[in-house]
Symmetry: C2
């Protein structure tokens, strides 16, 4: 590549191509999230990205490949900060307050509208694309529960929590915090989203129930 005679022109081509690639991905995310897999056409994506359909196909072999790319990219974009949140679980010695802060941040992240839309889409398409459901699970709740599990094992080893099975305790924590608003959002759509202060109350109540069950003593 760097040995090409017309280096400048080639660099410009590559930049233009990368810009188009990003524009297509962005347009595809919007179209898939609003219309679902079957409701999306390469034509719609091309129109929104302001490129030709041929250009879309040059960058992404088919609709299936493009769908897989946008799910992976969106999950990764959102999952990475989440893992940081887990790593940011403070240990100030005030277990209830530390878990509450963590639960509130985590619940707000999971209830982010674009992530809710993606979760609905991935669940609806789990029959057609089981590998994307697996990806969402592993980088989403699976990863959070794994990370929490390691933290809870540490808390247990210094006598703050009582849990023979830290992985089960982590899953119970996760779903005590998430399940009420998340299941409502999944089934009721986004017409009546929970407010941030309602979310905080669900998080706090989940932490209280978790500690009543798992706190040592």
């Amino acid at each position: 590549m760097s040995g090409a005679t017309d280096g400048e022109g080639q660099l410009e081509d590559e930049r233009r191509s990368a810009r188009k690639h990003r524009a297509i991905l962005q347009a595809a995310t919007t179209v898939f999230l609003s219309n679902g897999y079957l409701g999306t056409s390469m034509d719609k994506i091309a129109a929104l990205a302001h490129v030709s359909k041929q250009t879309v196909y040059k960058h992404f072999a088919d609709k299936e490949r493009l769908f897989s790319e946008i799910v992976t990219a969106t999950v990764d974009e959102i999952a990475d900060p989440n893992t940081d949140e887990v790593l940011n679980l403070q240990d100030t010695g005030d277990l209830e307050s530390d878990l509450r802060d963590f639960a509130r941040r985590q619940l707000r992240a999971v209830m982010e509208p674009r992530l809710l839309q993606l979760r609905r889409l991935v669940i609806g398409e789990a029959g057609r694309f089981p590998e994307l459901g697996r990806l969402f699970y592993e980088r989403g709740p699976g990863r959070t529960i794994e990370a929490l599990s390691a933290e809870f094992e540490r808390f247990a080893s210094r006598g703050a929590l009582e849990c023979d099975d830290p992985h089960l305790a982590a899953a119970h924590f996760n779903w005590l915090v998430m399940s009420i608003p998340l299941n409502q959002a999944m089934l009721l759509g986004e017409n009546e989203p929970a407010t941030p202060s309602e979310l905080d109350r669900f998080a706090d109540a989940g932490v209280r129930a978790f500690l009543a069950a798992y706190r040592k003593g």
Copy 2:
């Protein structure tokens, strides 16, 4: 109607029409559950029901109406026994054993493959059909939680449970029992279903955590 001159012939027509109505509903359920809303056509349904497309349209004005009918019918068919289960929550005085029996039955009902498929479909279509998501929520988890809430209030009043907010306690119970296998099933598809004995273990663990948090004393 009863005043018609050719009563016999008319009765036969009505029977034939009712048979076709049922055949269309049954075929529509199969086609929608396997192909989703957009992947389903009236042609496919007519073919599976062995009737003409005109007959399908005579019974159901449009695809939207037919979809709404099959979701309502399937939810009702499954929700009714579930409410009975709640009413069948025994009160033998052994709270843990009674809740465990109930949780095991309830979890098996929710994890019934056709109900899982319907839940995925309704979640995937919650943007297009918010009223069906609401229906599923209200006749599904909403109804179970309401019914449990009344039971828990009774348990609390005789000092077996400690809960200021029986509705919250009922929701925590419900999701402690359901969430782990249900979220896995939603995202991972039915490729690796939990076995009945795995489901029992999830139910038992949920009940143990619930009682550790909410049992009086």
